[in-house]
Amino acid sequence: MNPGKARGEALVSRSPLSFYGGVDPKTGVVVERGHELQGKSVAGKILVFPRGKGSTVGSYVIYALKKNGVAPLAVVNEETEPIVAAGVILADIPCVDGVDLSQLETGDLVEVDADRGRVEVLRKGGKPQGF
């Protein structure tokens, strides 16, 4: 989706993410009320979520996250829709789409090679399922 490479800890959301109003552009913390990532920071993470939602201003929020030094290292999506696509391109954040997210869990050490569209789990670090 957008080229680049990154390695880091995964932060995984099973539900779509709205950047506008959903992520604080100054701190990188998810602020959408009731969202499964509420209170967590996307800064320095491999941010994994199925797709974006909400206003197209979300693209500018992704850009602001990068500018403020609190952007994710890379974005991994099932489907990168136009809001996130515009955001990662404007902010120059590596992004891979068309990924089966069920293999990824928060805490996994993940390597993203967006030039080849590949995502690899180097070490499982997530809590065991059902825990």
Binding site: T56, S59, Y60, V61, I89
Partner: protein, 395 residues
């Protein structure tokens, strides 16, 4: 996707970092939607102009772009801003908000955009002709230009419209292609519709039903610019309708096939349903007309309703700067102001910081405004025809 040699050069960064990134954005969007190539656009209309909508992230982004010396390649106008550039102080717009808003407008000016901040560019000097390709983002303007003018544009987001403006092209997919402009739903209208607000109410109901379909209306008579503008705006607010056809009226209606389409029948009941379901308040302490921005004709009709009387509550009629100026010269502005009303340019209630200005219940004659105001401005609304709203506040 096929790219010309010039376009490949943009992608390689020969026109600088901004153009490279913006063009990459267009290429990705094109790939996402299956475009085969880029097409030149004759004009762009960019949303995300009000500081209330884009906030600090948008402001910083636009200032960065302008600071890097980016310039638009085609005629570019803006969606409404968060205030009237002239009358904001008098109207009680917050000072800190105004400071940010003027910085956004200044960034757009440096980018080469015209500061025509309106949702109705087609009433303010940008009138595309049939078949012209555009990259517009305001949903009601997208609907009007596609449906009534027969021009061709997808419903762009703020960033993609800006990218098209800076690169001069847009990916060729969706409504740019003939085969995607055919109707997918037949809407049979029964009974009489009176004025733009009835069309707005009807459109709201149809938009909910239609979602992303392309409606073909049968049974509508005597709809002019204002009625079609209201109909399209409402369908784009409650649904994602970016193109509609009206039998005997819109330019492509005569050339499309309607056989075998799913049908829906609408009339007075659906109009009344929208008036009722969107109304959440009782007594407006502010009446706002002009969503989408009022035409000179609408201003003139409102002025005649006000003649010889005076409003007891604030009345705003939102419009483009161009129409406001014409209204000043023709004396209409004097008539409205003489009755205690105000013609407000460059902005509208939805994108203005209304929630900070002490209003609780707003009367509107537009389903689109009624749809967005409670969520975006934290107010209650009364949705009714303009005569009824004015009757309630006239002394």
């Amino acid at each position: 996707m096929y790219l010309t040699r010039d376009q490949e050069r943009m992608l390689e960064g020969e026109e600088g970092e901004v153009v490279e990134r913006m063009f990459r954005l267009l290429v990705r969007l094109g790939e996402l939607y299956g475009a085969d190539r880029m097409i030149p656009v004759s004009s762009c209309q960019v949303s995300g102009v009000s500081y209330k909508s884009v906030g600090e992230p948008g402001l910083e982004f636009l200032e960065d772009l302008a600071g890097k010396g980016a310039r638009v390649k085609v005629r570019t106008t803006l969606n409404p801003a968060g205030l009237d550039r002239e009358g904001w102080r008098e109207m009680g717009f917050p000072e800190d908000f105004a400071e940010k808003q003027f910085r956004i407008l200044e960034a757009f000016r440096r980018l080469g955009a015209e500061l025509t901040a309106t949702c109705t560019p087609y009433l303010a000097g940008v009138v595309p002709s049939r078949g012209e390709h555009l990259a517009w983002s305001e949903s009601s303007a997208v609907s009007f230009s596609n449906s009534v003018l027969g021009a061709r544009t997808n419903r762009e987001g703020g960033p993609s419209a800006l990218a098209a403006a800076l690169c001069g092209v847009t990916p060729r997919y969706g409504l740019h292609l003939e085969e995607n402009r055919r109707p997918t739903l037949l809407v049979e209208v029964e009974g009489e519709l009176r004025g733009p607000s009835d069309f707005s109410a009807l459109g709201y109901w149809v938009g909910k039903e239609a979602g992303g379909e392309i409606p073909y209306f049968r049974g509508i008579r005597g709809a002019g610019t204002e009625e079609l503008k209201a109909l399209g705006a409402a369908m784009a607010a409650s649904g994602a309708v970016a193109l509609f056809h009206v039998e005997g009226i819109t330019p492509e209606a005569g050339e499309v096939e309607t056989e075998g389409l799913e049908r829906v029948r609408v009339g007075r009941r659906e109009v009344e349903d929208s008036y009722e379901s969107l109304t959440t308040g009782e007594e407006p302490d502010l009446v706002v007309l002009g969503c989408p921005h009022a035409s000179l004709g609408e201003l003139s009709r409102t002025a005649s309703l006000l003649r010889g009387r005076r409003v007891k509550k604030p009345l705003w009629i939102c419009t483009s700067r161009r129409v406001k100026e014409e209204a000043s010269l023709s004396g209409l502005r004097g008539e409205v102001e003489g009755a205690g009303g105000r013609i407000v340019a460059d902005t509208c209630a939805v994108v203005s910081p209304l929630e900070r200005m002490g209003f609780e219940t707003v009367g509107v004659d537009s389903a689109k405004a009624a749809h967005y105001l409670p969520g975006l401005c934290g107010v209650r609304v009364v949705f009714a025809p303009p005569e009824r709203l004015l009757e309630g506040i006239l002394g």
